[in-house]
Point group: C2
Chain length 198, copies 2
């Protein structure tokens, strides 16, 4: 019964590490801390992982893969308005995050402690992801659906900031579904706080 209906020990290590990295930060979290949480000795960790950084690497790049896959799906859809496309993108992003809030927090805050060349690879992926959202916004501006008066960089960074802080305040036990939250978020960014003239 190895790796069938139970997760491997390595995955266990990585999950516990994610929680620890989120709580203390990658650098402040020591391998002895991690071992203690698992009830083993620090040296025993190396039966499962190659290094501390491997854990961070797995966490960051697994999340990145999920984000990319989510955006692929949205882009594959046809006949969507810019608002709809943006909304789908946002919902997808929120859903990926909600699936693992702990890993999301690590992905967001600790990726910078990756060493080269992994850090470079990671940042390239991230720029690509942001750019694809930027294209959605630009498309909406071209079609006249969105205002052209708003700075594109500002718009996309505001969007991205809102999305990425979610792990810090979203309560996974709350009644609200990720998809609903995503809808509300996109509504707020697209339509704004102000009451529309009826």
């Amino acid at each position: 019964m190895t790796e069938v209906n139970s997760i491997s020990r390595k995955e266990q290590v990585i999950r516990v590490a994610a929680a620890l990295f989120r709580e203390k930060g990658y650098v402040a979290a020591s391998m002895r801390d991690l071992a203690q949480k698992l009830g083993i000795e620090a040296a025993s960790l190396y039966s499962h992982i190659k290094s501390k950084e491997e854990i961070l690497h797995v966490l960051c790049f697994d999340m990145a893969k999920d984000f990319m896959a989510s955006l692929d799906k949205v882009e594959a859809q046809v006949n969507l308005t810019a608002s709809e496309r943006l909304q789908q993108g946002i919902i997808g992003h929120v859903e990926v995050m909600a699936k693992d809030l702990t890993a999301s927090a690590v992905f967001m805050n600790e990726h910078r402690h990756l060493s080269q060349p992994y850090l470079r690879d990671f940042l390239l992926l991230r720029i690509n992801y942001i750019n694809r959202f930027k294209l959605m916004i630009e498309a909406g501006m071209e079609s006249g659906e969105f205002k052209k008066s708003i700075d594109k960089k500002l718009a996309v960074m505001t969007l991205f900031s809102s999305l990425n802080w979610m792990p810090l305040w979203y309560d996974p036990n709350s009644a609200i579904e990720p998809a609903t939250l995503g809808k509300q978020l996109s509504d707020m960014l697209v339509n704004g706080l102000k009451q529309n003239p009826s």
Copy 2:
């Protein structure tokens, strides 16, 4: 000529430390790194500061004080609509950040490495600050200026997230004034991306 038209050595140390903390993170930045950037030995730092944490403390609480003072000014104004009040709050926040982007980044990302009881004090200040923005939004909802359909917590956290990521992408050398950026930001959050029906 001590502390008249030149900043004290202690302030120099703190400024260089801020840049280092921002770049590497508080924990990963060593006192030997810091000393090297200043061209002195690590032990010499302690002629100016009591501890590594004192630097973090000064950085975080000086920023906090500025944010609070900015919000005090906004609240002292009378006869403002909710949109105007919110806009003033946002502009103030952006201006405080823009005045020292480095310290802002440390304030935002590294405050969690404060030890108790300072961490508790810091978080209380922060909750208070967020709550005051929340009150502005609620006032707008009560008066019918803002939609009531939007979740208050979502609204205020989205706002706060957008604001706090600014140090990561704002270019201090750009032509755009902090006050202008604040206006654009508040416009985007209040009125949204969508073209208003004309």
